[in-house]
Structure formats: C-alpha cells, structure tokens
C-alpha cells in the first residue's frame, strides 16, 4: 500500500506540476526566463527548505527544483525511518530474539531486511521515474533517460539515508529514541547542506551529507547533468552505513547498544513505587516519552535558531520578491523582517502536525504491544484514555512551541532584530489549536484503522494540504480549496488572528475528532486483533 501511495501520489504531483510549469512558461511574460526571474527571490528565501535552484527557466530545471528535490527529501526521510525500523522495531516488538533462535544469523537477518527494504525503495523510485518520464513526454519534452538518471540519484540518496538510519539505530537503545535521533540528524544534514555557503567552516559537513552528492547529480538540469562519481559516493555511503550497522549489531546485546555492559546492580530496598508523576496517565506517559520529547524540543529550537539567525542574510532578497510577499499574506506596507519571522511561525504548524503524527504511531504501538490491554484492564475508560492522550499531546505541543518562541525571542534580541510579543502569543495559541485538531484527527484515524495506516493517512493529508496551497497559488485554483488545508486554517498568526471560519474549522476538527475517537474506539476491542 505504501509503495502504491508513493507512486500514485508522486505520479499525480509530477503530472500536475509538469503540465502547470509547461503552461506557465509558455504564458508567462518573458517565458521561462521571466518566470525564473520572478521566483528567484522566493527560491533564495526558501533556501533552508530546498536548494540549489539552477536553471529555473527550463522545465527540467524547475521540475528538478520543485518535484525531484521534494521526492529526494521525503524519500530520504521515509528510508531513514525504514532503516531504524529494520532491526530496532523487531526488538521493540520482542520478535528479534524469536527470529534469531530460529537459526537465522544476525548478519543474515540484517541482509534480508536490507534487501527487502531496498526492493521497496527500488519499486518506488522506478515507479516515480516512469511518472516523471511520462509527464515530460505528455507535455512534449520527452527525456526518459534523464528522468531515470535523476530518480536513480534520488534512490541512491534514499539508500544512503536508509543506511544512516540503520546505523544510528544500533547505537540508540530504543526504537523511538533511535527514530528521533536519526530523523533529527537527517534534517540537520539537509538544512546544513542547503545553507553550506552561509555557515562558514561548518559547511564542510556537506561532504558527509547524502543530499550534497545527490544534488551533484541532477540529470534533468541543463548544464549540470548526471554525475557518476556522485552516484558512486552515495553507493559507498550506503555500503559504509550498512557495514557499520552490521558491525555494531554483531557486537551488541539485544535491546542494548554496543558499549552496554548489562545490568549488574541489584537493589534490595524499595524506594516508593507510587510516585506523584505516575498518578495520572498523561504524566506517566509524558515521563515515559520524555526522551522523544527531548528530541523534538531541541530540534525545534535548533530550527528556530537557524531560521532567525539567517534573517539578516535573506531579508533583502525577500524585499525584492513580490511573489514571496503575496505568498506570505502580508499587506503592501508590511515590514519584510516581520514577514520573515511570520513565515517561520507558520512553519511551526508543520512541526506540530508532524509531532501529532509521531504520537499516532505511538498509540498504534500501545495497542499492538499490549500496553492498552494492561491500561484498560484498570478502571480507566476510553474517554479517560483519550483525555490523557490529548493532554499529553497539548503538553508536547506546548513544549515545542515554547522552544520555538523562546529561541526566536533570544536570537532576535541578540541580533538586534525586533520581534512582536503579541504575534508570538497568537502563534502559541494557534499552535495549541492545530495541535489539538491534529491529535484529534490522529486519534480518530488510530481508533478507526487500529494500524500504522493512521500515520500514513496523516502524512498523506499533510503533504496533500501543503501541495494544495502551492497549486492554489501557482495555478490560480479557487481559494475555497485551501479551506481543506490545515495550513490555511492556521493562517499567519504572527501577523493576525485567522478569521473565524479558520478558527472554527480547527475547533470543530478538534471537538468532533475528540468525540469521534472515543465513540469509534468504544465499539472496537482493546486488544490487537
């Protein structure tokens, strides 16, 4: 299902985007060059999110910048998660020892898992490559070889990311902790690779980033082309990562890290078992997931640091971009620094939704791993459980937003950049609203599907909503379509409160989702089927 979703979703995106770009380049005053000139400023501004932006005056260049690099980022993220899951998830479920006792060697298991995941990745990449080639052919600019080579680099980048996830997971004892560490590492590498020219000597880190080498091979971009050495480096990175993972897996105990010496200390006295922090499910769950939250909070703070720190570098380019001003929704007289901070605050919505998706994953695991059975064998009701989950979600969202707000305030103050306290308060309130709505949506999907399909559903919706925003902007689709998007409902809270309809949408989703999640869950079982 995942493979089909990737190919179908990516294929549609390719077809729409290629057609839209082809049409836009033909109709735009000044053609492709005129279009490239109009978006160059915006591309500069969005450098932390996507870079490099070469030859935007050509269909191959623009398609690479907009679609291929989007696939590159998201497929690498997907592959990293798969890499973490490959072994650690089996341990978390307690099935690794069963598999190993069946006679399978550790290396054999790792090889089989890697080959299986590689096959899945290969299918996705080939499927997407075909849709890229078909889209180009559809608009009369066929380049099948270029499409295949471009997506091969994307696939190799994902393979290196997979190996990174696999290797990191051997050095972090829990699946959730490994997931957080690997994802934060990958995103950090992504941003640093995009910003390498602005970060001085730290920029050298790009050479260990798969994104740098993938960006060196862009077959559809005239004047850049594909690079066999870059592809070989990506392959070498993948081999090295899998090799490091294999080494670590061979040397470590199950459920531990290679340096772990085991538990040797026995205590014969009992400090109190019942502690205040464990009296409520929400506080107990928060305590249990503190490591994961500790990964989200500093990652958000680091992003805020990077974003606010780069303000001085990019505001001039923003000032020259009418497109970007329009996209940000500021009035004609809005200060560009204000709009820059505002856009950063808008991105908090994406972080919050991603956080709720990770919570949904944990809720499915609660059911699958039997924790739900233990919890609901007490007087705890479904309603009580959901209330605890929403409380925990809101506390997590609050911590993440606080990390953002405090970092922005501190960095802006240090850099002498003005910041708006009321805007940050609005951002905090709206983040809590969207966090509640996201958690309610996630809880409903988890109650309904009782499987990780819930997380997939949320991710598909979020990516769809994000893409929809762009389509509405670029293709001049009707504005009401954006009403289906959480990003639109979130608005630009740093600038102003969103309108009542948007606020209402978030509140209705939160309220209806909360009630629906309990009602649906109450009809189902409390144990995994």
């Amino acid at each position: 299902m995942g493979i089909i979703a990737w190919i179908a979703g990516g294929g549609l995106l390719n077809l729409f985007e290629t057609y839209a770009l082809h049409t836009e380049m033909a109709d735009y005053p000044g053609g492709g060059e005129g279009l490239a000139a109009s978006v160059r400023g915006a591309a500069e501004l969005m450098r932390p999110l996507r870079w490099p932006a070469d030859r935007l005056d050509t269909l191959g260049g623009y398609l690479t910048y907009h679609n291929i690099m989007l696939f590159q980022g998201f497929l690498a993220l997907y592959a990293t998660v798969q890499g973490v899951h490959a072994i650690r998830e089996l341990e978390a479920r307690g099935s690794l020892d069963v598999i190993l006792t069946s006679g399978r060697t550790r290396l054999g298991l790792l090889r089989d898992r890697a080959v299986g995941d590689l096959a899945s990745l290969a299918l996705i990449v080939v499927g997407l490559a075909i849709t890229v080639a078909a889209s180009l052919a559809f608009v009369g600019e066929p380049d099948t070889g270029g499409a295949l080579l471009a997506m091969t680099a994307v696939g190799l980048c994902a393979l290196a990311a997979y190996a990174l996830g696999l290797a990191i997971a051997q050095w972090v004892p829990s699946a959730r902790g490994a997931m957080g560490t690997a994802v934060v590492t990958l995103i950090t590498l992504y941003v640093l690779t995009n910003e390498w020219e602005n970060i001085g000597p730290v920029g050298v880190v790009r050479f260990v980033s798969p994104f740098h080498w993938a960006n060196s091979s862009r077959a559809l971009v005239p004047g850049v082309g594909w690079s066999a050495p870059a592809m070989l480096v990506l392959l070498a990175m993948a081999v090295a990562g899998v090799g490091a993972a294999a080494q670590a897996l061979q040397r470590r105990d199950l459920g531990a890290v290679p340096a772990h010496r085991g538990w040797i200390r026995l205590r014969h006295t009992h400090p109190r078992i019942q502690r205040a922090a464990l009296r409520h499910l929400w506080s107990g769950a928060l305590l249990r997931h503190r490591a994961a939250l500790m990964a989200w909070v500093p990652a958000t703070a680091a992003f805020a640091l990077l974003w606010t720190g780069l303000q001085a570098t990019v505001v001039d380019a923003w000032n020259a971009s009418a497109f970007m001003k329009a996209f940000l929704g500021g009035s004609g007289t809005s200060d560009i620094g204000f709009l820059y901070t505002s856009y950063g605050c808008d991105l908090v919505a994406a972080i919050v939704i991603a956080y709720t998706a990770s919570l949904a994953n944990g809720w499915v695991a609660d059911l699958r791993d039997g924790r739900l059975e233990s919890l609901l064998a007490t007087p705890l009701t479904w309603g009580g459980l959901m209330r605890a989950r929403f409380a925990m979600a809101l506390i997590g969202v609050g911590a993440i937003v606080l990390a953002w707000v405090v970092t922005v305030m501190v960095v802006a103050t240090v850099n002498g950049v003005p910041w708006d306290g009321a805007g940050l308060v609005r951002t905090t309130v709206m983040s809590l609203c969207i966090g509640w709505a996201g958690a309610a949506l996630a809880a409903t999907l988890v109650s309904w599907t009782r499987a990780t399909a819930a997380t997939t559903g949320i991710i598909v919706y979020v990516v769809g909503a994000y893409t929809l925003g762009w389509f509405v902007q670029v293709l001049h689709w009707p504005d009401w379509l954006n009403r289906l998007s959480v990003f639109s409902a979130f608005g630009h809270p740093y600038q102003a409160w969103p309108d009542l309809t948007s606020m209402g949408l978030l509140i209705v989703v939160g309220l209806v989702g909360s009630l629906a999640s309990v009602a649906i869950a109450d009809r189902g079982g409390k144990v995994a089927a």
Binding site: A92, R93, G94, S174, A175, R176, G177, G255, W263, L266, R267, H270, P271, R272, I273, Q274, R275, L278, R279, H280, L281, G284, L287, R288, H289, A291, D369, G370, R371, E373, S374, L375, L376, A377, T378, P379, L380, T381, R523, G525, K526, V527
Partner: protein
C-alpha cells in the same frame, strides 16, 4: 504435592493484614461471574460459542483447554476487552459492558500475552498501573515485590519472561481485588515461584476473593481449584467439582507374570481397560474396584506389581482424544 486445603491455610509471608481495611467491601452476590450464551465468532470456527459459565463467589475456578480452545478469548470477554457478538456477561451482578469501569475496579487481571514497555523500569509500570487504580497500599505492594523476588528497578525490556510475568502478577494482586482473572498465571515461572503464586491465590481466596484462572497444566489446576471447566473449540464441554472429576480417575497397573497367561484372559478381568502385553510384562488401566485384578494377578503368580493413579491431565487428555 500440596493439597488445595494446605495451600489455603499457608501463612502469608507479607507482614501486612490479608484483609483490605482501606478498601470499600463489595457486598458480593452468590455468583461472581455469570456468562450466558456468549458468542464471539472470529470465523473459521475460531472464538467462543454459546458459552454458559458461572463462577461462584469465593471459589477458585480453573478454566482448562488446549491452545486455541478459547480460554483467553473468554477471559478478555469477561474483562470487556473485547465485546461478544451476543450473550451477556455479569460480574457480581453488574453488566461488564454498561458498568465496565466499575467492574474492572474490582478485578485483578493478568493478561495471557505480556505487554511490552520499552524505555521504562518495572517500577514505572507498576507505579503507573497503581496510580490508575488508586488506593494501593505501598507496604502491600512492596511486600508482593519482595515475595516474588522481583527487581523492579531494572528496565522492563531487560526482564526475562518469568520476571515480566511477575510484574503482571504484582499488578493483578496489588489492589487486593475481589475477583482475580489470571490467564496462565504460572507460565514461565520456576517451581518455587509457581508455589508462591498458588499460595497468593489461596490467601486471596481465604480473604474472600474469587479466582478464575486459565491453564493448560491440569496438575496445577488440580492443586489450586475448587471447580474446573473444560473448553474445546470454543465450547464448554464439561464443568464439575474436583470430586466429580476424580470419579473419572483410574490406575495404571503394570505387573510381571513369568507364566505368561493368555492376554485375552487378562483383558477379560472386570474393570480392566487399555491392555498391553509384552512378553511377561502385563499393563492395563483399571477404573473402579481393583480387587478382581489383584485376585487374577495372585492366581497367575505375579512377581512384581507397580500401580500409579493417572493424573487428571491424563484422564482429560484421554477424554479429549475420545471426543
């Protein structure tokens, strides 16, 4: 082997009173659990079908069946963890579906499949479950942990299966429940700990609790239970007291007879079944009065005689095979 009565009179090793002074007492009706016509159909003949089951207040009821017979499904239905397709389930006169939260407050439950709790210690798990229940006495909890020799400060993930089972048992007993529902309670425990768990059950029942436990180890059930129910393919095939079931008991007799009389004569002795003869070794199962067999053996010059009572397990297995 300790008898049921011996187990029940065993002195508690926990130095706190067995009665639960701090808890509101449940004025229990005569029947702790009443299941009427309960069906949960998973398809392809999996599940439980038209199940009628009554567990009397104050008794230990053993639920016996092979793997996949429907034991765990029945216990989960009683816990309202899964819902029946039809039929009703009452615990102490209360419908488990409509008053699930209240009912679960009276129950101590050990699941058949142990949960995973990554990233926390066993103390965290027990503290959380105690917090959700409320009113758990710290001294009683510490006593249970000591008694089962559990190191609760180790990461839960690193515990052996037996130690995870102990965590589940502590969670089931920690609030001194009026009803214990235990799915394979001694699974994975060493013999000493198995005995300790049987003692805990006996003490809880002596203090007024009721216990429904499932097992596929009949020898264990024989020691602990007052009544036993046999389930097969999701249907209750027999319910009875230990005394009822002991009527089914038999002896396996093996004798050496150098004169090697005719096997047909041996098989014709009243009460003799399942005859096997190998040279001078004569073996059979005897039900009821053994006197005719002893007379026949004496007349034919038996020089060695070995007799042992068949366990309930052997009797029931024979029953299952015959059906």
């Amino acid at each position: 082997m300790a008898t049921q009565q011996e187990s029940r009179t065993r002195v508690s090793m926990v130095d706190v009173p067995v009665a639960s002074p701090g808890q509101p007492s449940l004025s229990a009706p005569a029947d702790a659990i009443v299941c009427t016509g309960v069906t949960k159909d998973y398809g392809e003949h999996h599940g439980v079908f038209d199940l009628d089951l009554t567990v009397h207040t104050g008794e230990v009821f053993g639920f016996i069946g092979t793997n996949g017979a429907g034991k765990t499904t029945t216990l989960r239905l009683i816990m309202d963890l899964i819902r029946p397709d039809h039929g009703s389930i009452n615990v102490f006169g209360h419908d488990v579906r409509r008053e699930g939260s209240t009912v679960r407050g009276w129950i101590g439950y050990l699941p058949g499949e142990l949960p995973q709790w990554p990233g926390v210690t066993a103390a965290h798990v027990l503290g959380l479950l105690a917090g959700l229940r409320g009113g758990v006495e710290e001294a009683w909890l510490a006593g249970l942990i000591d008694r089962l020799r559990l190191d609760v400060h180790r990461p839960y993930r690193e515990l052996s299966h037996g130690n995870k089972q102990k965590v589940g048992l502590v969670a089931a007993f920690m609030h001194r429940p009026d009803l214990l529902i235990l799915d394979e309670p001694t699974l994975g425990l060493d013999p000493l700990m198995q005995r300790e768990v049987r003692a805990l059950i006996a003490e809880a029942v002596a203090a007024g609790a009721t216990c429904l436990l499932s097992s596929h180890v009949l020898a264990e059930v024989e020691v602990v239970c007052d009544r036993i129910g046999l389930i097969r393919d999701g249907r209750m095939v027999r319910v009875g007291t230990l005394a009822d079931l002991r009527e089914l008991r038999a002896h396996r007799v093996t004798a050496i007879i150098p004169d090697q009389p005719m096997p047909a004569d041996f098989a014709a002795v009243p009460g003799v079944e399942e005859v096997s003869v190998h040279r001078d070794t004569y073996a059979c199962t005897v039900r009821g009065d053994i006197t005719p067999l002893l007379g026949w053996l004496a007349r034919h010059g038996a020089i060695e005689l070995d007799s042992r009572e068949l366990t309930l397990e052997e009797v029931f297995l024979a029953q299952f095979r015959s059906r």
